[in-house]
């Protein structure tokens, strides 16, 4: 399978999906149609899930995102959770937030309570 790399746009984040088991989501995510934007990410994860690396490291460093993206991000995490539960790969999620951005810290905590995957939250600086 191929790696997927999307360059950040004015309304969309930088996305890296590397078959070596590295996943990154950085910047802002405020597209009007988030489902359309995240579709290739979902597809990539479905393909990766069939034969993942023993460890999958996920880095999420978002400045802000709209509520429509928040649902897609949860769906990304759910797919990762399924990979983790399958026992094929040890998935860990690292959630980074800007110093002083309590909203983003809280949002990280919200996901942490929903998703059953090792999940760390820390300041980016």
């Amino acid at each position: 399978m191929e790696n997927l790399s999307l360059i950040a746009g004015p309304k969309t984040p930088h996305v890296l999906l590397d078959q070596s088991g590295v996943i990154e989501l950085k910047g802002k995510s405020i597209p009007e149609n988030s489902v359309e934007f995240y579709k290739p990410v979902f597809d990539w994860l479905d393909a990766y899930a069939t034969n993942p690396k023993p460890a999958t490291k996920v880095l999420v460093a978002l400045e802000y995102f709209n509520t429509s993206s928040s649902k897609c991000i949860l769906d990304v995490f759910r797919k990762l959770e399924a990979i983790h539960k399958s026992g094929k790969s040890a998935v860990s999620i690292s959630w980074l937030y800007d110093d002083e951005d309590e909203d983003m810290m809280e949002t990280g905590e919200d996901y942490q309570t929903i998703v059953k995957v090792p999940f760390t939250i820390s300041k980016s600086s």
Partner: protein, 186 residues
């Protein structure tokens, strides 16, 4: 003859009311992109605190996208009596006290008003902790619509604002009311 409308009095009114940005018309993707850029540079220009800037930006994005998605739904209800039903308005105010107010106005079907009012009243009645729990619950259990909405917008706006949402409904025709929403950010 006096020119109508008198642009100078509108200018004075906007100055007096500390309106930093205002728009009336169709909310399109292109418009939203421009508005985000404008507000981003305006807030940088006045050296707004990054935390507050982020809140204002976030709430603005969510408010405009709410209207945008709503207009998409309304399109299927095209009303010959009211061809402007896809029009909307918004206004961003920064008071001398540094408190921002984001005003939005758009047409909603009268049949949906009661539901919307109940929903806002419910949200206004919640403590920050309850709002957070409500958000997480909805995030966890609601499916996305084809366009990507999950009814999370209004909860997120209330949560980020930290203030009660102000609203009103003005009946304009048999079918439509004009829905006004005011969100404060202090």
């Amino acid at each position: 003859m006096k020119p109508a409308p008198d642009i100078y009095s509108i200018y004075q009114m906007m100055e007096r009311e500390h309106i930093i940005l205002s728009f009336k018309g169709h909310i399109t993707k292109e418009l939203m992109s421009s508005v985000y850029q404008i507000i981003d540079s305006r807030l940088d220009a006045i050296d707004e605190h990054p935390k507050k800037k982020k809140k204002v930006y976030n709430i603005l994005v969510e408010s405009l996208q709410n209207i945008y998605h709503h207009m998409d739904e309304l399109q299927q209800e095209e009303d010959p009596e009211h061809s402007t039903s896809r029009d909307a308005m918004f206004m961003i105010v920064r008071g001398e006290d540094g408190i921002y107010k984001i005003h939005t106005g758009n047409y909603v079907l009268k049949s949906k008003c009661d539901l919307l009012q109940t929903r806002i009243d419910e949200i206004n009645g919640m403590s920050p902790e309850e709002l957070r729990a409500h958000y997480v619950d909805r995030l966890n259990t609601t499916e996305l619509s084809a366009k990507g909405g999950a009814g999370l917008g209004i909860i997120d706006i209330a949560r980020k604002s930290g203030n009660k949402l102000g609203y009103s409904f003005n009946p304009v025709s048999e079918k439509f009311s004009f829905f006004s929403l005011i969100v404060s950010i202090d």
